[in-house]
């Protein structure tokens, strides 16, 4: 359970841009990766404050520590691709292009939120960016993802559906049924298992007879890799390879992204189940601070640039909070809206 123990043997992790030869484009891209991770981090730090202020209520699951996963994977996706995520999805939504404003407004429950305020933190949705939630049933999104992929297959569209889920979800029957169907039907899905070693308070050793989750996928004859999920470039490179294969019709692929959650599971969690030293050890591998160091070493980041990034990210977060604060409450009179479609054109789907 120490970072060393989850050190990555896999070749995919090694494929990364050489430090010294960074081109301008590469430098730009690297800074963008850092910026994206920082956007998640700062937004969520603010969320934690707002939760204490009781502006955000219900469950709030922070992604802090795992940012490299969402940021890395999203690089491999095209606008027409689809994303299915979990209740720990603020980062995914943000990086995918859902605005910080509508995400924050959603967490407030304001009608300007990306789900009209109805969903809250666990149910961010945005059809414009093909972000299909936001699912609070562990492993509940997996069947949905293969359905989206099936629709693409049947409609001859070379798209990818990226499906995020945790290590805990792997124990669910839904995982098994879904992976089998995906492989059997050769569906274009990129399974992204965010292995942060815990499902709430249950360590993976107490949940899985086989803790090497990448091996699980093999039982369905699905190509899979274990990736260092604390290294955004390793994630990006693996995701690009896998997404390209999926898009090329090579069937579903599976990435196990080895990461760690720095914060409590949710705001209710007293964290009795893990040692502060373990958390501290993992914090040494913070995907943002390690990447910051790396970019400095590579000579593509200096104090000034970093300050500029932080400043713009800070402004974005401030702006999002202001937007949410200024947002409005839906009238109680429309309480029973969104139960059935409102009589309207024949539309219906989000494709």
């Amino acid at each position: 359970m120490t970072p060393a123990a989850s050190e990555v043997e896999n070749a995919a992790a090694a494929a990364r841009v050489q430090p010294d030869e960074a081109t301008a484009g590469e430098a730009e891209h690297a800074r963008r990766l850092l910026t994206e991770m920082l956007r998640i981090r700062r937004l969520e730090e603010r969320c934690a404050d707002l939760y204490k202020q009781e502006k955000i209520r219900g469950f709030l699951h922070l992604y802090i520590g795992e940012e490299a996963v969402a940021v890395g994977v999203m690089q491999a996706l095209e606008p027409e691709d689809a994303i299915v995520a979990t209740y720990r999805e603020h980062g995914h939504a943000l990086v995918r292009g859902v605005s910080a404003r509508t995400i924050m407004a959603e967490m407030y429950g304001k009608q300007e939120g990306c789900s009209g305020g109805r969903g809250g933190s666990m149910h961010l949705f945005d059809t414009a960016t093909r972000f299909f939630g936001g699912n609070a049933i562990v492993a509940g999104g997996l069947p949905l993802a293969i359905g989206l992929a099936l629709a693409d297959r049947l409609q001859h569209r070379a798209r990818v559906t990226a499906c995020f889920f945790g290590d805990g979800a792997v124990a669910e029957g839904a995982f098994h049924e879904t992976l089998n169907l995906a492989a059997l039907w050769h569906l274009p899905v990129l399974f992204c298992c965010e292995n942060n070693l815990y499902a709430m308070g249950t360590a993976i050793e107490r949940a899985q007879a086989e803790t090497d989750l990448a091996l699980k996928a093999a039982a369905y004859r699905m190509p899979s890799w274990g990736i260092d999920g604390m290294d955004v470039e390793a994630v990006e490179s693996a995701a690009r390879r896998a997404a390209a294969a999926v898009r090329a019709g090579e069937g579903p692929h599976f990435l196990e992204l080895r990461t760690y959650r720095f914060r409590a599971h949710s705001m209710f969690d007293p964290e009795l189940y893990r040692d502060k030293r373990e958390v501290d050890a993992w914090k040494q591998r913070d995907p943002i601070s390690t990447y910051t160091v790396r970019l400095r070493e590579r000579g593509v980041l200096d104090d000034a640039r970093l300050a500029t990034i932080e400043e713009s990210v800070g402004r974005e977060v401030d702006d999002a909070v202001a937007f949410a604060e200024a947002g409005t409450w839906e009238s109680v009179e429309t309480l029973t809206r969104y139960v059935y479609s409102e009589p309207a054109p024949d539309s219906g789907d989000a494709t």
């Binding site: 689809a82 009608q111 939120g113 990306c114 789900s115 009209g116 305020g117 109805r118 969903g119 149910h123 949705f125 945005d126 059809t127 299909f132 939630g133 936001g134 699912n135 049933i137 509940g140 997996l142 069947p143 949905l144 993802a145 293969i146 359905g147 989206l148 992929a149 099936l150 629709a151 693409d152 049947l154 409609q155 029957g173 839904a174 049924e177 879904t178 089998n180 169907l181 059997l184 029973t336 809206r337 969104y338 139960v339 059935y340 479609s341 409102e342 024949d346 539309s347 219906g348 789907d349 989000a350 494709t351």
Partner: protein
């Protein structure tokens, strides 16, 4: 002459011919021909992509139906029977029924789920449930129970045209029912109950598999001079309360027939609604004739004793009219 089974098959076939977004998915719908032979022959006509056999993975293939629906398809998912739907009910309740709401109106789910329901074939305690009422409890779903060949033929296209998830319950005992179906039979509304026989003394309310028994009882009641109106609910969610109340206000008495275990069955909702909407019109307490509170026993005589029979409906109706 055709059968209920044929009518469902015809409905599926025409939907698939009319709209290539429609496909059928479920266990043994293809090579086997459907566990009730509903889809026999369709694999040859439409091929394995559109008549899609699934493994025994109810949760995943129902969820895949939801995903395919939001991805632009018009899936018909067949769950062999309501008994196995319990393995998929999480996806139906927590995903299909909630997506539109949780997304603030962005994601409707144009999915049709068909399944067989009911008892009467001596297949015992794990294969004889009647859980239509559970699904009818869930906002976001629409729930249909075609009891006639016309409805078996006509409800499916309407359900497929609906932007939201629709569940169709086909009572297993009906598949062999024979009758005429006009050549131009087509879509029928799915928001109205139907008066199958008019009467003035008591309203018998039934749906799906119990309509036949209610009509049988009405016949027997007629012989003893009691005029029974028979109402076929057709749609369990939304309930056509107006039609029910209109009838009961005329007859002043009602008997509800429901094959499910009595306690907590859908019949209770109908009973409560009638009281709420027509209390001062009632000349007697609304009666219910339901399944006995026992897991379905295997032997024929015990199973039949556990199910609502015409004789019990007659007795209940007589009690309400007092003769």
């Amino acid at each position: 002459m055709t059968t209920y089974r044929e009518a469902v098959r015809q409905a599926i076939r025409e939907a698939m011919l009319a709209d290539d977004r429609v496909f059928l998915m479920g266990e043994d719908v293809g090579r086997y021909g459907g566990c009730y032979a509903v889809s026999k022959g369709l694999l040859d006509e439409f091929g394995p992509e559109r008549i899609r056999d699934t493994p025994l993975s109810e949760l995943a293939f129902v969820g895949a139906g939801i995903g395919a629906a939001i991805g632009g398809m018009r899936p018909i998912v067949e769950i062999m029977t309501v008994n196995f739907s319990l393995l998929a009910i999480d996806q139906i309740v927590n995903t299909a029924a909630t997506l539109l709401h949780m997304s603030g109106g962005q994601l409707n789910v144009p999915l049709v789920i068909r399944m067989a329901t009911g008892a009467g074939r001596q297949v015992a305690a794990q294969h004889s449930h009647s859980l239509e009422g559970w699904y009818a409890h869930v906002p976001g779903l629409k729930v249909l129970a075609p009891a006639t060949i016309d409805d078996a033929r006509g409800m499916l296209p309407t359900a497929l045209a609906d932007p939201d998830p629709v569940i169709i319950f086909e009572h297993a005992a009906l598949y062999n029912m024979e009758g005429e179906l006009p050549a131009d039979a087509g879509a029928v509304p799915i928001d109205r109950a139907a008066v199958r026989q008019t009467g003035s003394d008591v309203t018998l309310i039934a749906f799906g598999g119990t309509l036949g028994r209610a009509l049988e009882a009405a016949g027997q009641l007629g012989e003893i001079g009691i005029s029974a109106e028979v109402l076929d609910l057709r749609t369990l969610r939304p309930i056509d309360t107006d039609t029910i109340l209109e009838s009961v206000r005329r007859t002043h008495r009602a008997v509800i027939v429901d094959e499910a275990w009595r306690t907590g069955s859908f019949s209770a909702e109908l009973s409560a609604r009638i009281m709420e909407g027509a209390f001062y019109d009632l000349d007697a307490a609304v009666a219910r004739v339901c399944g006995a509170e026992v897991p379905t026993p295997y032997p024929h005589h015990l199973e039949q004793a556990a199910l609502p029979q015409a004789a019990a409906i007659v007795d209940a109706a007589r009690a309400t009219v007092g003769r």
